[in-house]
Symmetry: C2
Subunit: 352 residues, 2 copies
Amino acid sequence: MIKNDLLLKTLRGEPTERTPVWMMRQAGRYLPDYRTLRDKYDFFTRVQTPALATEITLQPVDQIGVDAAILFSDILVVLQAMGLEVQLIENKGPVLPDPVRIAADLTRIRVPDVEETLGYVFEAIRLTKKELNNRVPLIGFAGAPWTLLCYMVEGKGSKTFDGVKSFCYTQPELAHRLLQMLTDTTIAYLKQQVKSGVDAIQLFDSWGGLLSPDDFEMFSLQYMRQIIQALKNEVPAILFAKGAWGSIPEMVQTGCAGVGLDWCIRPETARKMAGQGVTLQGNLDPARLMSPVPEIKKEVTKMLNGFGPGRYIANLGHGILPHVPVDHAKAFVDTVKNHVYQSREKQVFSSL
Amino acid sequence: MIKNDLLLKTLRGEPTERTPVWMMRQAGRYLPDYRTLRDKYDFFTRVQTPALATEITLQPVDQIGVDAAILFSDILVVLQAMGLEVQLIENKGPVLPDPVRIAADLTRIRVPDVEETLGYVFEAIRLTKKELNNRVPLIGFAGAPWTLLCYMVEGKGSKTFDGVKSFCYTQPELAHRLLQMLTDTTIAYLKQQVKSGVDAIQLFDSWGGLLSPDDFEMFSLQYMRQIIQALKNEVPAILFAKGAWGSIPEMVQTGCAGVGLDWCIRPETARKMAGQGVTLQGNLDPARLMSPVPEIKKEVTKMLNGFGPGRYIANLGHGILPHVPVDHAKAFVDTVKNHVYQSREKQVFSSL
């Protein structure tokens, strides 16, 4: 019953009249109305107040015209639900004052009842679905267990996350125990998001690309596979592991409907690695939206032609940057919407 | 006349009795003798005093038994020579108090006389060659123009260098003018390093992997190509562009003798992309040296078998981390030295 179901059709491999488009972090700081709310309410107040989360989620749908909403929230709410304190310092990133480092820290962590600890997320989903009134689908999301472990152990952001790697290499049993707890929590969390109304989910592995392909399998992908397997019969799942290009074939094999890509891979290379049976999503360099509008149009057109029509969702290769002018974001979205592929036959690209 | 010429033979594609090994940042903080000098002399005193630079350069040759020395220096000395102030704050990274942002800043920058501005580097090379007494080859190096531009514009380190990208996308003419000045300076600098005695050079593009493949060509590779072309008939050149795996075939075509790899690519994939006519170098995850020694041996053996013998130099995928125990670094080097490939025929791997 969703009026604009381009995204869902594309994830299912069905033909569509044009390529759908949305932007990671589309509900965020580049929007003046978001900044107004940011000045009034702190980060976790915005996340934990369903009316605010809903308002923020809808802003890019109303103002930029994207083809999907994605719930305004944060991947770290799962760590809070598991018993850890998470602070978010504006413009600085997350801080966990008591990170996990040794086995004894397990006493502070639990696989929580998600209804009890994350009820505000499900309430925000129900409210957003009501406000969206079936205009576009709503995407739910969670952080990948590996990315959550990065923050859980490191206690803050890092360029290379050497601390959590060292933790995994010296205390692998503890690392795997935590990763399984994160996985179990995430499955319950996403299942409840689906029950509350999300139409698709995306799993964000922001730091998967810091691992070698073998370590990515060991510390990240095997857990994401469990999550995708548990969810894939309920809603289509998109797996986005930034930088983990070397494992694209293995990601496809998890059973996900879509694979997200960063900007460091050519569309043709990605399609060759992924095969024809999965939808690809991405992958403009977010910094490219700082270019003048004619340049943006040129770059987006090149990207669209590179991926070709069908089984493709236009997006950025990572979250939109805070300093992007609103009309540049709109130019990105409008270029996708107005794009005409050269061959009409190509437009109708059936499921493979 | 160099006694241990494994590295040079391998770069030329000649057969060797075993795989050569060295480590990026092998002269550095993980060595107690380095830390002693660090406590006495600040960073640029260590870099600019030939006797100190020589002493530090030799430490890993004497203490770890690597098959090559690499001059202790810093890529940012080129920016100093071009007229910019560079501060290096211990454990924090570089800071340029007056970064380049607008065309008017060009008046502060020059293509310098390298003899005059970087004479201490050439003096350190001559002294190191004397002290090495032909035991192992000496590698000279420089930063890639793109990576130097990152610091020149951003004024400090960054996770994503969005500032310099935005600079390139909004002021491309100025960016290209600066990149050409950096290229001209680097060519003169490396030519003088060769005249002073280095046996090979490595070009470090630490931030090339932050660019899309097309932008990598436009803002990085076309300038590295000029440098390699200018140098390749003098000494073998190794090109290391961290994260720029998507452009491996294009890097090979620059005429470099070797391509450095980070740990996010499987050896087999890298060889397939690079073809047989180039030496590959890398690529253990530096964080893997935090593992217990038996694990290190296992991982290094897997890497060696993945690359196979011939046209391969064992190394890390990035610089060694400061907290690595010395015996772990030695375990890395010794595992390479003691490795026996399964088939004897494979050991003799002639130039292709």
